[in-house]
Symmetry: C2
Subunit: 462 residues, 2 copies
């Protein structure tokens, strides 16, 4: 009874897939403060030029440098696993497969882009990278990447996670990274927010502002900023997940995937698995592709498609995306990686085109699903991953009720060994769901008034 | 550049290897309170009979039940990895390979026997298992195993680890296990020790006493005790590690291993990798086989070979082993899994036969090595594993100095994501080495006076 489908190193994909080449409507450009498309040069203080080129590329396939592959081999190709034990527990005729991204040293999909970004930065002569982190997955992934490449790393960690997860900070330090709570007193952006609200739990938007400010204010010119999700080049690097999965399914003769599922905060984990299947869908395949978000931060399911800043202090260009407003501070759910006010422009555009079917879930149901997973499949999932698992279980139960042999594929984005406090709260009955009240939503998206709206030529849910 | 050697599920070994069949001197039997060899029946209240039979077996190869393989497939076969990045950092001509046992759901080698013991217990009609745990690796492995098989699990966790590692307890609970600090007030043994020393940090010996007492005092007869190391059947189950490693080395054409290394607390991790190579050594191969222990708990390097109890309250039979005395309470080093007063009888006998070359190390050097590992290879090792890594580095440096292309193989027994506080102490310069003072050693082994001594027919270091 096979439960793991492995690839050898020589079977690893050698190109990333760029969805921007295939979306029916071309991607709208990021806009500068003047409302005009931003030039690559305007981003040069923030990112190295080689990554800016990737960000703007519309090439369908982009080569993975050989030296990057040599780094990825530490944990890639990752196993494709079949969740036979869960299938049995559910009594479903569905075949459930998942890409296990928890096998990377930091335990999530994040290093798939962290090592790539670190490598391109180093190739461009950069010596120090700044970033933000929510739950801590991204900060540890970038610290890890910088350790391997001999770069310095500074991480601004959202305060609530910094306080809830002291071991995440130790993980970053073990890899040589420096980690401070955000908002911090080390940047103008941080100090300004602390003055207004000294007890703020922080947010990804605030932490991004601080990390960018830190990078652009280094006069040596040797510091750049790195983002763990949202941007095109980040999603690009993650497509290795879906490309590997395709090879693995082919290897065992699975010809048709019916449902593809991934949790989505900024969008990179979901996109990494899903985009190669979105291409199939564009080419006519019948696939149900579902990004899952928390009801407490309902970007895809309740926010408008608009231009908005990626951060609170409006330091980033305007990006065309679903956004709850750059000032939105999500409630303190345990899935810190899903607490982001916006959604990646590529994922957003794919939603507008009707290629995806977003869902939102409360965290209690997600932990219930994660616990069932841990006690059947064995591995303890990250709280973010539990959102995907809950949706997988829903789909597998539906397949049972319909008597259909569906093939369900999802991204197991990371393990939960660093996030056990959420399980404790769940087991003790202390965990709460947060649905965003209509009034708060209206108030938050009011901040979008006056910002440009991207044109919508074809509508999905719109 | 290949860094991972994988096996498919159909390549998994289908038999365990039993060193008891091949040791030049036959193993001495465990003795009862009367000083006479103990009968299988006398153990029946503690273990299920099917495992007692394995414990006493001298068959060379023992079949792994098909249903056990189905459980092991969740994470086995584990990757054999080549530590190319560390090799490069050291500039060594040695080729360093390691079995990555950190990929199991609880993150160590422990589930290799936990799921087997749970399976045999269930097959024997047992419904509840009790055990002890030091660092928490074993307690989480058994909780995990019991979750998969639908058994109840009660874990007595050494108090110092219980206090230092709250997340370990949550891990056990997530898998449905119940965890209490030992000594506890729930057993006679625990209460007696607490009365004498309310502030005791606890020890594995004490926790074993409590877990056995709990098991044998259940009047329903449906509870048994499970041990995570030391005993023959436990070491037997772990040999799948070394047997897989042999297949993997063969697969890439590595014909000869020069050095085999593993850390040893009770001995099961070390034995699991090493015993199949000990067989080669018995058959004439020239292999340096090194079990590594902490200087703070120098069982193999400074204790006598004697009969002693496996636990503090003398509930276990007398086992022939190296022992610091059943009352020995090791200092609070971070590698909790290496804090045991004795050493597995099979490992002990192999030392007496001159088949192994034990070493001992202070923890500061071990953490230094672990940090170098994390920043080159990427994965953060468990504090126990760092003992093996430090020895590997010593051997690789020696190979460089001698200009020899040695092949070094070791067991990467687990990841350190749940044990980051030791790294913090090391990075802040707060970590201390503990070498056991001669006076304390003498005092502790005085408790062995009057216990029978096993005959030594052939001597290694003796």
């Amino acid at each position: 009874m096979s439960v793991k489908i492995l690839l050898n190193e020589d079977e690893i994909p050698r190109k990333w897939y760029n969805l921007a080449a295939d979306l029916p409507t071309p991607m709208q450009p990021p806009l500068g403060p003047d409302g005009k498309p931003i030039s690559p040069d305007a981003l040069a203080a923030v990112f190295p030029m080689n990554l800016i080129e990737q960000e703007m590329s519309t090439e369908r396939w982009i080569d993975i440098p050989e030296e990057v592959l040599e780094i990825l081999y530490r944990w890639r190709p990752t196993p494709l696993r079949r969740a036979r034990y869960l299938e049995k527990a559910l009594g479903t005729p569905a075949r459930i497969y998942y890409k296990d991204e928890g096998v990377s040293p930091p335990g999530s999909h994040k290093p798939n882009t962290a090592v790539v970004q670190a490598w391109y930065n180093k190739a461009f002569g950069i010596e120090r990278i700044t970033t933000e982190t929510g739950a801590g997955q991204w900060g540890s992934a970038l610290s890890f990447a910088c350790a391997l490449l001999g770069l310095k790393c500074k991480v601004y960690m959202v305060r609530i996670s910094y306080d809830q997860k002291p071991f995440r900070k130790l993980m970053m330090q073990t890899w040589g990274g420096e980690c401070v709570a955000s908002p911090s007193t080390q940047t103008h952006a941080g100090r300004e927010i602390l003055e207004k609200d000294p007890d703020t739990p922080g947010s990804l938007g605030i932490a991004i502002s601080e990390a960018i400010e830190d990078a652009v204010s280094d006069e040596s010119g040797k510091t750049r900023y790195s983002l763990g999700s949202v941007l095109n080049h980040v999603l690009l690097h993650q497509t290795i997940i879906g490309l590997e999965a395709k090879k693995q399914l082919e290897k065992i003769g699975e010809k048709k995937v019916d449902v593809v599922i991934g949790c989505a905060g900024g969008g990179s984990n979901f996109a990494g698995l899903a985009f190669p299947f979105v291409l199939d869908k564009i080419n006519g395949a019948d696939i149900d592709i579902i990004p899952v978000e928390p009801t407490s931060c309902p970007t895809m399911t309740r926010a408008p498609f608009t231009y908005d800043h990626g951060d609170t202090a409006k330091m980033t260009p305007l990006l065309p995306m679903f956004s709850l407003g750059h000032g939105f501070v999500p409630p303190p759910i345990h899935a810190g990686g899903l607490r982001y006010h916006g959604m990646a422009p590529l994922v957003s555009q794919a939603i507008v085109e009707g290629l995806l079917r977003p869902e939102s879930l409360g965290q209690v149901k997600c932990y219930e699903s994660g616990l069932l997973w841990a006690r059947t499949e064995g591995y303890i999932p990250a709280p973010e991953t539990n959102h995907a698992i809950a949706t997988v279980i829903d789909e597998a139960v539906k397949a049972r009720e319909e008597g259909k042999e569906k093939v369900i594929l999802f991204s197991w984005s990371g393990h939960g060994l660093m996030d056990l406090m959420g399980y404790e709260a769940f087991m003790k009955g202390r965990l709460k769901d947060y649905a965003l009240p209509e009034e708060e939503l209206r108030k938050s998206i009011a901040s979008l008034d006056g910002l440009p709206k991207p044109p919508i030529r074809k509508t999905g849910r719109w």
